[in-house]
Structure formats: structure tokens, C-alpha cells
């Protein structure tokens, strides 16, 4: 069991997402940085889809009610447990009564706390992910509050599970960054791209987009030059997915994220590739983003690169466990 001691902002329980429910208007939800969640679960030999806690703001504190193993992946949060510092992308042990403290968002924007066996909340429509809008999944369909007690699936982590780290995704999947360390995310042009003239398209690709404070799990609202179409566009409502970049009439793009509506009618200029959604998740409020025009084929290649990293990490953990004669 884990008790939430202090929390700031909308921390929530997420697994890899809720799929196959779009026809009811139910989107995927799930970890905004799915790679970090998977990595944490891999380090713990959990099912990769085991539910963990997504923490978008610090400080954040929990108390472990029993001896267990846990992992912290995603952002670097200056964590410590019982006064002992925990490195990022790291597995460690907790003893009953230990308090794990996430102090500051040093690098990145979302941290993932996974525990041995996963957080045991009910499965709703096939997933443990929280959907705030529909008030479903997670813990009573809402974000976490101090005093919440989270049940964990298993009590005993193998005693041979000791300190172990993983190479962070942004090291293994490093890409050239734009000037001033802006995050660069790749996007494939979408249906209304050609309704924007050359000048507007250039503006979209070349601009440094600022992530406004109105950015969250529903969508990232960006601030920058106004990107206007040749003439006003009014679309019939159609399905959209996380990554779709809509531009409402005010010319300021919105990247639809994991809790976005499942359909909409604003024009879409491009869609961020699935392989780069985690990079957006790790860009915080006030951070800067740039888009890179990418073909479908290159987007598939990027997806393969992510899969290769995850496959390799999975295999490494398994082999290391065998080497140590540990699960």
C-alpha cells in the first residue's frame, strides 16, 4: 500500500491506455510518457501495462506501508527515500514506513512511480488509466489527493531486487536539438495542410512554440505566430487521436494529448508522430517546442527505433536477472 502524503497538480494513476473504446467517445488516456512507464515496469519485472502514478508537478510525497521495490522513471525529480538519494530511471527498495519524496522537476516534466506488482485499482473498460473527463478509471476517476491510500498488487518484492538503473530514453533516443535546447518533435502533415499557404506552412515549421500554462493532459496550447489558412475552414466533426495538431481560428496550435476529445472539427495541420509524443510530455509549461516535417515512412522508422530501445531494455533486464539468479 502507498499513502499519498502531499501532491501538487493533477497526479493520476495511468497504465498504457484504454484502447478500442473510441466508438463510445472514450479516448485512450494512459501515460503521457508511455516509454517511461514501460521502463519502470520492466525494471520491476512487472507486466509492462501495470498501473503506476504519473506525477506532473513537485513536490510529491508518498509513504510505503510495506516492504517493496519501486522505480522512478521519466523526469529527474531530485528524489530521496528515507534521506537516501534516488537516481533517475532507477529501481530501489522501500521498507515499510519509508517516505519517498520527489523534490523538484530538475529535468523533464512528468515522473512515473511504479511499484512491484503495479497499483491495484479496478480495471474499467479494459484499463486502469484515469480519465478525468469521464470520471472513470484510476482511483475513483480523479486525480490523487493527500490521504489517498493506493492498494498494491503484491506485497513481497524478491529480496534479490537491488539498486539498478536504466539508460534514460532521451539519452538512448537522443536527437539533435534545436537552438536554445528546444524540444524538436516530428510531425506528419494532416488533412488540412494544403489549406494553408506556403508562408503559413513555413511559419508553422520554423516557429519556436511556447507551451502555455493552459497545457495539460487534454492538450498542449501553444503560443507563437498566428498560423492562418488561406480562407476560414469549418470541418465536419471527425475522429482525432493524440498528437493531432489543430489550429482554431485564432491561429494558435493545440496539440491534442492523451485525454483529448476523440473527435473535433478544427482544421488539422499535422500530427505529431507516436514515437515523439513522450518528448512533448517531458516538455513543461513555459518550455519550447519546434516541429519537424516528417514522412509517414520516417515516422514508422522512428517507431521502430523506440521499439528497439524497449526490446533491448527488456532483454537486458531479463538477462541481468538471470545472471543474478533473481526474477
Amino acid at each position: 500500500m502507498i499513502e499519498i502524503l502531499s501532491v501538487l497538480g493533477p497526479a493520476s494513476i495511468q497504465d498504457l491506455g484504454r484502447f478500442g473504446q473510441y466508438r463510445f467517445g472514450v479516448g485512450t488516456s494512459g501515460a503521457m510518457d508511455d516509454i517511461a512507464l514501460r521502463a519502470g515496469n520492466m525494471l520491476l519485472a512487472n507486466d509492462e501495462n501495470a498501473a503506476g502514478i504519473e506525477i506532473p508537478m513537485t513536490p510529491f510525497k508518498v509513504r510505503f506501508a510495506c516492504d517493496t521495490a519501486f522505480a522512478l522513471t521519466g523526469a529527474d525529480v531530485g528524489a530521496d527515500i528515507g534521506g537516501r538519494a534516488i537516481l533517475p530511471w532507477w529501481r530501489s527498495r522501500a521498507r515499510a514506513g519509508d517516505v519517498l519524496s520527489l523534490k523538484a522537476m530538475i529535468r523533464g516534466a512528468r515522473s512515473y512511480l511504479t511499484v512491484y506488482g503495479g497499483i491495484d485499482v479496478p480495471v474499467v473498460l479494459g484499463s486502469r488509466s484515469t480519465q478525468l473527463r469521464g470520471e472513470l478509471g484510476g482511483l475513483h476517476g480523479r486525480s490523487l489527493q493527500p490521504g489517498d491510500i493506493l492498494p498494491c498488487a503484491s506485497l513481497e518484492a524478491p529480496s534479490c531486487f537491488d539498486e539498478l538503473g536504466a539508460e534514460p530514453a532521451d539519452v538512448a533516443l537522443a536527437r539533435p536539438t534545436a537552438p536554445a535546447g528546444d524540444s524538436v518533435v516530428r510531425a506528419v502533415i494532416a488533412g488540412e495542410y494544403d489549406k494553408y499557404g506556403g508562408a503559413a506552412q513555413d511559419l508553422f515549421w520554423r516557429a519556436e512554440w511556447k507551451v502555455t500554462p493552459q497545457s495539460n493532459r487534454y492538450g498542449y496550447r501553444l503560443q507563437g505566430p498566428a498560423v492562418m489558412p488561406i480562407s476560414p475552414i469549418e470541418k465536419r466533426s471527425h475522429g482525432i487521436v493524440p498528437g493531432v495538431i489543430q489550429i482554431p481560428p485564432n491561429g494558435q496550435p493545440i496539440i491534442q494529448m492523451r485525454d483529448a476529445q476523440t473527435s473535433g472539427g478544427y482544421p488539422k495541420i499535422a500530427t505529431v508522430i507516436e514515437a515523439d509524443l513522450w518528448r512533448i510530455a517531458q516538455t513543461g509549461l513555459g518550455g519550447k517546442l519546434r516541429f519537424e516535417n516528417t514522412s509517414y515512412a520516417d515516422a514508422l522508422a522512428a517507431q521502430s527505433e523506440v521499439s528497439a530501445y524497449l526490446d533491448r531494455l527488456r532483454a537486458n533486464v531479463r538477462r541481468f536477472g538471470e545472471f543474478r539468479k533473481c526474477r
Binding site: F19, G20, Q21, Y22, R23, F24, G25, V26, G27, V124, L125, Q131, R133, G134, E135, L136, A187, V188, A190, G191, Q214, Y218, G219, P232, I233, E234, K235, R236, S237, H238, G239, I240, V241, P242, G243, V244, P248, P249, N250, Q252, I254, Q261, T262, S263, G264, G265, Y266, K268, T271, V272, I273, E274, A275, Y296, A299, L300, Q303
Partner: protein, 220 residues
């Protein structure tokens, strides 16, 4: 806005593909979309076939290496699609027009050049068909709204519109099942429950069902 006379097919990254049917926003076209959805949902690599308003989104279980064959399949599928007339249920929904939640009722009246009472009676007159579900859990997109009360979506979407709000966006109308962001103009509200994950089918309504709005009150 001109309607193209050929389908438009576009990618949503590597996650989905969008098929937009040519033709008017009406029930015969939507019935053909339902037929195409039924066919496409069985294609390999497709996770779901989700109808929108005279359009269809296919989400990928695994993205195809070559999109061309999928594009051809969609075009052929559309050509072959016969109107799939779903026999749905008929629902009556009591609505309170205007007031705090229906705060854009006057905006719609101003835009259309009609009185608030006219907007209400025009909105409540038709028997609407549920064309599609989407946007958020249980939300229904309705077909059959009178174009006289159409109004373009908001310049800047609202961060939060109330649950149960009855609103207009473009030439479409719908009812929100829960609070959340919206680019539409709210003209009223209802207290009906549209979604419950504990139900065998979590959404109360499905494509093919019909709705009639019953005017409970008009708050000016």
C-alpha cells in the same frame, strides 16, 4: 464551404487514417458511412472503425507499411457501400434553453438574425438522428439541424463547458455528457445520463438512435 466530389483520405500520423466522404451532411450519406465502418472494422491491422459526420476514422492496431492498399480499399469500400439503415431507439430529451449553461443562446440568435424564441423552436423541432459518438464519453453528434441556426465554432475554444450542455458548432448540434473543453456554443442543458462505464454498453445512445428535444423552459 465547397464539398469535394471525391473522398478525401488523410493520415493522422502513424496512429490512424481519416476517410471523408463527398456529398452533403445528411442521413443517406451517414448510412453509407455506417456500412463502410462495418466492413472496414474487420480489415487486418485495424483496431476500430469510428464514424464521424460523413467521415470515418480507422485506428491502427499496427500501422501498415504501405498506405496505398488501404487507401484503395477505402475508396472501393465507399463505392460498394449501401445505405445501412439502423433501426434505433427514439428518445425524448427535456431541455432548459438559455440560462447560465446555455449562455450562448443570445449569440446564436444574434448571428442568425432570429429571436431567441425562434432559435429555440427551430432547434427543438426536428427528430435528430445520432450520426456518431465521439468527442468525449457518451457524446452524440446529431444530424438534422436546421441550417438557419448554424454558427461557426468558437475562435478560441472554451477550456470548460458544462456537462449536459446542448450546443451548436457549425451546422451540427449535440449534447455534452460531461464537463470539458469545447469549441461549440452552448444554448441549453439537459440532466439526462449519457454514459456509465458499469453499463454493458457504456454509452446510452448509439448511431441510428433518434432524439427529440422537449422544451422544458427558456431562460432569457
Amino acid at each position: 464551404m465547397t464539398t469535394p466530389n471525391r473522398p478525401r483520405i488523410s493520415l493522422l500520423g502513424t496512429t490512424a487514417i481519416l476517410f471523408e466522404a463527398p456529398g452533403t451532411f445528411d442521413l443517406p450519406h451517414q448510412r453509407r458511412i455506417w456500412a463502410l465502418a462495418a466492413t472496414a472494422s474487420k480489415w487486418p491491422g485495424i483496431r476500430e472503425a469510428i464514424p464521424g459526420i460523413t467521415n470515418l476514422m480507422l485506428t491502427f492496431e499496427t500501422p501498415p507499411h504501405a498506405v496505398d492498399s488501404l487507401v484503395s480499399a477505402l475508396i472501393d469500400g465507399w463505392d460498394d457501400a449501401q445505405e445501412f439503415a439502423i433501426e434505433g431507439r427514439e428518445i425524448e430529451l427535456p431541455v432548459i434553453y438559455g440560462g447560465e449553461i446555455g449562455s450562448s443562446l443570445q449569440t446564436v440568435a444574434d448571428h442568425s438574425g432570429l429571436s431567441v424564441d425562434d432559435v429555440v423552436s427551430i432547434h427543438a423541432a426536428p427528430r435528430y438522428t445520432v450520426f456518431a459518438l465521439g468527442s468525449h464519453p457518451g457524446y452524440c453528434y446529431l444530424g438534422g439541424m436546421d441550417p438557419r441556426i448554424a454558427i461557426p465554432r468558437r475562435q478560441t475554444p472554451l477550456q470548460r463547458a458544462d456537462g449536459g450542455s446542448v450546443s451548436i458548432g457549425g451546422s451540427q448540434t449535440g449534447v455534452s455528457a460531461s464537463p470539458g473543453p469545447s469549441g461549440w456554443h452552448a444554448i441549453g442543458h439537459t440532466t439526462w445520463t449519457f454514459f456509465d462505464p458499469s453499463w454493458p454498453t457504456p454509452a446510452a445512445l448509439a448511431p441510428g438512435d433518434t432524439i427529440r428535444f422537449k422544451v422544458g423552459r427558456v431562460i432569457r
